[in-house]
């Protein structure tokens, strides 16, 4: 199989150009799908018989949660690619992912907290999903902290890559242990079960997932361009691009 397409991604100027071309497409597709999903979720979908309109926060909460995990996985995979194939661009992509993932985790926690108020009357509950998200946030902080603490940029790339890989192996174990812990002490306080949802509620959710993923793609490409410019600031292609 011809792998040149893969190795082309290893070239910083190529990736820069690729990111520049594709960002508007990702961004506009994301915006469009978000508007459709919001209309479907906030206007078209009927209120939940139990939670009335409060359930609608799921349209931001659930995709944020999925994205926070998806981004960590993306971060770990690109970091592993950078480590194994020694691709600087892959390391740049991993570095670009981290803050985005952390923000999605924060969004999950905030929306979960806001949802908790009408649900349980309290702004925080040790529900398994929120608890796992909190631990995930600490994993993100650890990753970003390690990157910041190591002076040499190549060492920082490689060390944080190992951490990301160790983290992604641990995430399923952490989730399992948090679920175990939660089941010991109270019945599952899941915010919303999958079985409760009728198709008219589900399709805006799926659309929102897609919109968030495209949004992530757009933001990642923008951050990646900035990372590449910063890392390769001495190179001639950067001078050409900036002139």
């Amino acid at each position: 199989m011809n792998w040149t397409w893969f190795h082309r991604f290893g070239s910083a100027p190529y990736m820069y150009g690729f990111a520049q071309r594709w960002t508007p497409w990702f961004g506009s597709a994301a915006l469009l799908l978000m508007l459709i999903a919001l209309y479907g979720g906030l206007v078209l979908a009927p209120p939940d018989y139990q939670q009335k309109d409060a359930f609608r926060i799921v349209y931001v909460h659930a995709p944020s949660a999925t994205l926070s995990l998806l981004i960590y996985t993306t971060m770990a995979v690109t970091a592993a690619v950078g480590l194994i194939w020694r691709m600087k661009v892959a390391h740049a992509a991993a570095a670009a992912c981290a803050p985005i993932g952390a923000w999605f985790t924060v969004a999950t926690l905030i929306t979960g907290s806001l949802w908790g108020k009408p649900m349980w009357g309290t702004y925080w509950a040790w529900d398994p999903r929120l608890t796992s998200e909190l631990v995930l946030l600490f994993l993100y902080f650890g990753y970003m902290g390690l990157r910041a603490a190591i002076e040499d940029p190549q060492k920082a790339d490689k060390a944080s890559a190992v951490l990301a890989i160790v983290g992604i192996v641990n995430v399923p174990i952490i989730k399992y242990s948090v679920n175990w812990w939660n089941s010991l002490h109270q019945p599952a306080t899941r915010l919303l079960g999958k079985a409760d949802m009728d198709w008219s509620m589900v399709w805006p959710l799926l659309t929102m997932f897609l919109a968030f993923m495209l949004f992530f793609g757009a933001v990642l490409l923008i951050r990646l361009r900035a990372e590449l410019l910063r890392r390769e600031r001495g190179a001639s292609w950067v001078r050409e691009v900036l002139s």
């Binding site: 390690l146 190591i150 040499d152 952490i174």
Partner: protein
């Protein structure tokens, strides 16, 4: 003619043990820390033993975790500073295996003594005598897992500034499963129930740790040596 892997591991362990016993105060400090932390909880919560008993699993395990975070400082630090770690990487022996030997020795010097001396704190927190055996077993197994996970993070923070706080920040989230299952085992032991379930989970984590953690730690150390 090269030294065999087992003989090399034995030498690594022997060296660490003989160094540790030349500075025994360094061994006692994490234990003292654990005792002090265990004392602080009644001081800040309540002197009633019946209520302390409910909090005991948490107190013991958090104390054990914090104590092992302190002890992790001296897993690789001295060797990194004087160049011994570099010699491991250049010895022709598997670095993974050498680091595994070091981690096991470290646990023998820190985690195991902690588990064996925990009854003192446990009794002071109202834990019934019948539960002590199970508690020691859980702490021993859990602290072994903590040493393995901690070795990875210790390797990663070798090249970092202010590594101590960062080491804790990295290790704490990764130690959540061990904390959950370990404290659950302790809680079950206190009420006299069967601890097999969480102990199996702790064992599974330990096995996973033994297979994967030294590899990750070796990768981290090599990166740190660059």
């Amino acid at each position: 003619m090269k030294t065999g892997a087992l003989a090399a591991a034995r030498l690594v362990a022997a060296r660490d043990l003989s160094l540790a016993f030349r500075k025994p105060s360094q061994l006692l400090q994490p234990l003292m820390f654990f005792m002090i932390v265990a004392t602080l909880f009644p001081l800040t919560l309540t002197p009633e033993l019946s209520r302390l008993r409910d909090a005991a699993p948490g107190v013991l395990w958090i104390g054990a975790l914090l104590s092992s975070l302190l002890a992790l400082e001296f897993l690789f630090r001295d060797d990194a500073v004087d160049g011994t770690l570099e010699q491991f990487a250049l010895s022709g022996q598997s670095l993974t295996w050498m680091l595994f030997a070091k981690t096991c020795t470290h646990w023998l010097l820190t985690g195991l003594p902690l588990a064996l001396s925990a009854p003192l704190a446990a009794l002071a927190l109202g834990v019934p005598v019948a539960a002590l055996g199970a508690m020691i077993a859980a702490l021993a197994l859990g602290s072994f897992g903590l040493s393995l996970v901690g070795a990875i993070c210790a390797g990663l923070t070798l090249g970092a500034r202010r590594g101590g706080v960062l080491l804790s920040l990295l290790t704490l989230p990764l130690s959540v499963p061990i904390l959950v299952f370990g404290s659950d085992a302790t809680r079950l032991a206190i009420v006299g129930a069967d601890i097999a379930g969480p102990m199996y989970m702790l064992s599974a984590i330990a096995v996973l740790g033994v297979t994967l953690a030294p590899l990750a730690a070796a990768a981290a150390v090599r990166i740190g040596l660059e």
